[in-house]
């Protein structure tokens, strides 16, 4: 059951726009990563660590499941 590969998606892009059109650079600086990492996360090319996922959720003042979710 758990051997199945899961696809973790996110709503970072949508949340950025809902958050006064926050730029990728601003979010990157807030969570302490490079802008390229935010770009990779938004394009689903990179899944962040739990630590970074929580930091991103906190930056938007949301629960982690509102930002990162599994596409069934």
């Amino acid at each position: 059951m758990f051997k199945k590969k899961i696809h973790i998606e996110n709503a970072v892009r949508k949340l950025r726009f809902n958050n006064d059109e926050m730029t990728q650079q601003q979010l990157a600086e807030e969570v302490g990563v490079s802008r390229q990492t935010i770009v990779a996360i938004e394009k689903y090319k990179y899944t962040p660590s739990l630590d970074l996922a929580f930091k991103i959720a906190l930056a938007f003042d949301r629960e982690i499941q509102d930002v990162f979710f599994i596409n069934q």
């Binding site: 990157a28 990563v33 390229q36 990779a40 990179y46 962040p48 630590d51 970074l52």
Partner: protein, 139 residues
Amino acid sequence: MNIKIRNTLAEITGALIAMTWMWLNLIDALTMSIQSVSKVLAQGIGISIILIIVLHIVFNIFSSIITGQYEENIEDERDKIYELYALQMSSAIFGISIVATFVLLGWFNLNITTGLIAITFSGFIASIFSLLLKIYLYR
């Protein structure tokens, strides 16, 4: 082109130039003494290190002039993971190359100078492959 790809390209260019320099100086390796071959290899490694530092600076200066803005190189968890993938790949290639070198040295009864050159070049080739993997991951 982002700063990660630019720095990786600088490292590939430095390694390729150093390899070419060593190749040109080792054309007559069969007639050279082991001391002079070792000297060329050590100089090649030194040249590659200096070239990589210089090319990093040159590439970043050119990029700043062209784009008109300074891009800071921030290391984060993604860089560490990609660095680990690259290290795994280079270790695998280098390990296989060393074993292959020893097997071929014994098989074809080659001299120690050939082995020395093969090991040094395999190190450079492993490094180039790992850098290419990093470019693929950062693309």
